[in-house]
């Protein structure tokens, strides 16, 4: 008895928040890659005569204690925040996924060893772990990337491991065994795609945390050094002038917050797609 064909899925309009976030991130990426196109002035050009000017038509966001245009510094600052956090997450994702897959597939002693290592790494709170690593390597961009990356590895490794474990015991993997497919083929076809399916969404969410972490460590002086324009560093400098020039301590924070909101919105939407598709 032939069944009727199912109706086509209705097209859903893209939610407003998501659209806005994507646009913002596109703008940010532009600012990070081609800051010269957007910034009105040189971020390092000091102009002591115009120091501590409130926001005006010449300087939309005002000037800092050395007379540098804040808008330009914020735009240029996006490079560091994005570059450092994206690199850190890329590092965490690659190492973490690999470890997670190994632990989930090989099991046994390897799983135990990896699990314990992850436990030790997570015993130190993210920021403190990063601080410790920087104590050995010294401040700077590359070291910040490594520090933040290593601190984020456990999150990804654990998620991938848990998913691998779930999928390897799922009904469809078992069914595929009855077809006579060899184990490597099963892993490649069924286990890998499902185990890593949530990684992009988790990475996007982790990016938000990494951006805040980068700013935080730079705020403490562990990241790029002055006179570089970096959001966290700018906040540290601005904090001292809060009483008289509030704008020096506000705009970089606004930039960080908006970026993380945008990244989180995208990440959450992405993750929501997986809600109904658990193995």
């Amino acid at each position: 008895m032939p069944t009727l064909s199912l109706p086509l899925r209705p097209a859903r309009p893209v939610p407003f928040g998501l659209l806005l976030s994507l646009l913002f991130l596109a703008l940010l990426a532009l600012a990070a890659i081609f800051p010269g196109w957007l910034a009105p002035a040189d971020p390092l050009l000091a102009d002591p005569l115009n120091a501590m000017q409130p926001p005006s038509w010449q300087h939309w966001l005002g000037t800092d204690p050395l007379g540098r245009d804040l808008l330009s510094r914020v735009i240029y600052g996006s490079r560091y925040s994005l570059f450092i956090s994206v690199s850190a997450i890329a590092l965490a994702v690659s190492v973490g996924t690999l470890l997670g897959l190994l632990a989930g597939l090989v099991r046994g002693a390897v799983d135990e060893a990896i699990g314990r290592t992850l436990d030790v790494i997570s015993a130190f709170p993210d920021l403190l772990l990063a601080l410790m690593l920087i104590a050995f390597t010294g401040p700077g961009t590359a070291n910040l990337i490594i520090a933040l990356g290593v601190a984020s590895v456990p999150r990804f490794a654990r998620m991938v491991r848990a998913q691998t474990f779930l999928v390897a015991r799922s009904g469809y993997v078992e069914q595929a065994r009855t077809f006579g497919l060899p184990w490597p083929v099963l892993v490649w076809r069924h286990v890998l795609p499902h185990a890593t399916a949530q990684v992009p969404a988790l990475a996007t969410l982790g990016l938000g945390t990494a951006i805040i972490g980068t700013a935080g460590l730079s705020f403490l002086g562990m990241g790029p050094q002055p006179p570089t324009a970096e959001w966290g560093l700018m906040l540290a400098e601005g904090r001292n002038y809060l009483r008289n020039a509030w704008w020096t301590g506000v705009w970089p924070g606004v930039a960080i917050t908006l970026t993380v909101v945008a990244v989180s919105t995208v990440g959450r939407r992405w993750q929501a797609k997986f809600e109904g598709k658990r193995p």
Binding site: L6, Y172, Q175, R177, T178, F179, G180
Partner: protein, 532 residues
């Protein structure tokens, strides 16, 4: 006498979708009424409105909606709380998820008693013990400190019923109270519920199982797609149905009388003739034992299965039938004993040697959705079993299309994903996939247990057709004796890992030798005899 419940012209909508319309329901004190229907018929959502427990986005309207004579449709939460537990009690199915796993039995009874506000706090412990005792639990006092997951399914259900009766409600709504339970346990719970009727208390039973309804209800309302298609005295409706749908539901039930007949047709149509069973046994299981830790899950099991034969395996949960299936599939190894298939050793062989023969033994699982990779389309799912046969490209496409036709699925479903299909459609896809490599042996582990009766009928007919066409031997595992009696040639009755009885189906079920088989047969709820 004021009716306990008096509803006229009830309609329930979710947004623009109407799930129930034009429903009339009256329940007098002491009456047992049943709402019968398949999933999606609207019976559960109707029952929930009697307690104001429908979901927040449901719009409920009615011409008249009174509980104990008082209008209840516009009740606020506070007013509903007066009704819940005190006037009307509610028992959900599957107590494992319906009881709070973090609280003991005693604590939950106390919750229910406190909420009913009919008992003084210092009387709660005594009353709790009384409630458990009335629900048929021995050692009631000891059970108070136990957690739900530590009890067996039947005991849990009794606890749930005891809690629902804490406030001494005049009406008890039982929503599929026995669906998650074994047959023998189901019988005990039904007896418990029948006592309500004997004590002059009202019962509203929600069920898809007509036999259960026959045992418990005075009146029955048959629902389909949100409407009541037939209602009346139970005996009358079940022996001489007026509506075509009721007729169809009754015909779809597999019984000894339906043996050899199609279940999903409007008149008694015969199934295709069974393949002749001859020659050497295809499967030879000898002295097989399987342990999980110190649990003896399969205990000295031996049997044979010939090509083209249908062997039923029947037993309650935990009897080892599913483990037996896994052993036959080579997904797990017996610790003792041997399994031979097609004359060659199957068990304890290295995987590399078995792999080439796997295509000849296929599995149909109870839940097809979890046996499909959610990323795969129907076409890929059916085709995957052809990998080892080396059939690819155009030849594979051809074969997949042919199989789709065989299982009566439209070709438009090829690019769909399993989550877009209905339960029946999914099981058809699973059957297509299983028959794709032309297996000599098919193992079906409870393949129809999760399906509605009408869909189950279609799938059972389909299986019979496919088996006849492909001449496949079938090992059919089920807890439902009716299904086995309808379809199998021989049967194995299992209990606690052992085979307690085996033989021709007619023989075993009409003249059982073992007391356990007799117990299983007795547990079958009885349907009243049909008018021809």
């Amino acid at each position: 006498m004021t009716a306990l419940v008096d509803i006229q012209d009830l309609s329930i909508r979710f947004g623009t979708q109407t799930v129930v319309s034009g429903l009339n329901l009256t329940i007098q004190p002491g009456e047992s009424v049943a709402l019968v229907g398949e999933s999606g018929s609207g019976k559960t959502v109707t029952a929930r409105t009697l307690l104001g427990l429908q979901s927040a986005d449901a719009t409920v309207a009615a011409g008249r909606f009174t509980i104990r004579g008082r209008p209840a449709l516009a009740n606020r939460e506070g007013e509903w709380r007066q009704v819940r537990g005190r006037e009307i009690g509610y028992v959900l199915q599957d107590a494992l998820v319906s009881l709070d796993p973090l609280r003991t039995v005693g604590q939950q009874l106390a919750d229910a008693l406190l909420a009913s506000r009919r008992v003084a706090p210092h009387d709660i412990p005594a009353r709790s013990v009384q409630l458990l005792h009335d629900a048929g639990m021995a050692d009631a006092r000891q059970r108070l400190n136990v957690y739900p997951h530590q009890l067996s399914g039947g005991l849990r259900q009794r606890v749930l019923i005891a809690c629902a009766l804490a406030g001494q409600p005049a009406l008890l709504i039982a929503d599929e109270p026995t669906t998650a339970l074994d047959m023998t346990v189901q019988k005990q719970i039904l007896t418990l519920l029948r006592r309500r009727r004997e004590n002059g208390q009202a019962l509203l039973l929600i069920s898809h199982d007509l036999a259960v309804v026959a045992e418990l209800a005075d009146r029955v309302l048959v629902m389909r797609d949100g409407k009541v298609v037939e209602s009346g005295e139970t005996r009358q409706v079940l022996t001489a149905p007026q509506h075509a749908w009721t007729e169809r539901l009754l015909r779809a039930i597999p019984t000894p009388q339906t043996r050899g007949l199609r279940l999903a047709s409007t008149h008694s149509q015969a199934l295709p003739p069974r393949p002749k069973v001859t020659g050497e046994p295809l499967v030879n299981v000898s002295g097989v034992h399987k342990f999980y830790g110190d649990r003896h899950v399969v205990n000295n099991v031996s049997f044979q299965l010939r090509a083209g034969e249908t062997l039923g395996v029947v037993g309650e949960s935990g009897c080892g039938k599913s483990t037996l299936a896994r052993l036959l599939l080579g997904l797990s190894e017996p610790q003792r004993g041997t399994i031979d298939i097609a004359g060659e050793r199957w068990s304890q062989r290295p995987e590399a040697q078995r792999r080439s023969r796997r295509a000849g033994i296929q599995l149909i699982a109870q839940d097809p959705l979890s046996s499909f990779d959610p990323r795969y389309t129907v076409e890929r799912i059916i085709g995957e079993s052809l990998d080892t046969a080396g059939i690819a490209g155009a030849a594979r496409r051809e074969r997949v299309l042919h199989l789709l036709d065989e299982v009566s699925l439209s070709r438009t479903l090829l690019q769909r994903y399993p989550r877009e299909l209905s339960g029946g459609q999914r099981q058809r896809v699973a059957i297509a996939r299983a028959f794709a490599p032309n297996p000599a042996l098919l193992i079906a582990d409870e393949p129809v247990s999760a399906l509605d009766v009408s869909v189950q009928a279609q799938i059972l007919d389909l299986l019979a057709d496919m088996q006849s066409e492909h001449r496949t031997a079938l090992l059919f595992i089920s807890h439902n004796l009716g299904v086995i009696h309808h379809l199998a040639d021989r049967v194995l009755v299992m209990k606690e890992g052992r085979i307690v009885e085996s033989g021709e189906v007619e023989q075993v079920f009409s003249r059982p030798a073992h007391p356990w088989t007799q117990q299983l047969l007795d547990a079958l709820p009885a349907m009243p005899g049909r008018a021809a």
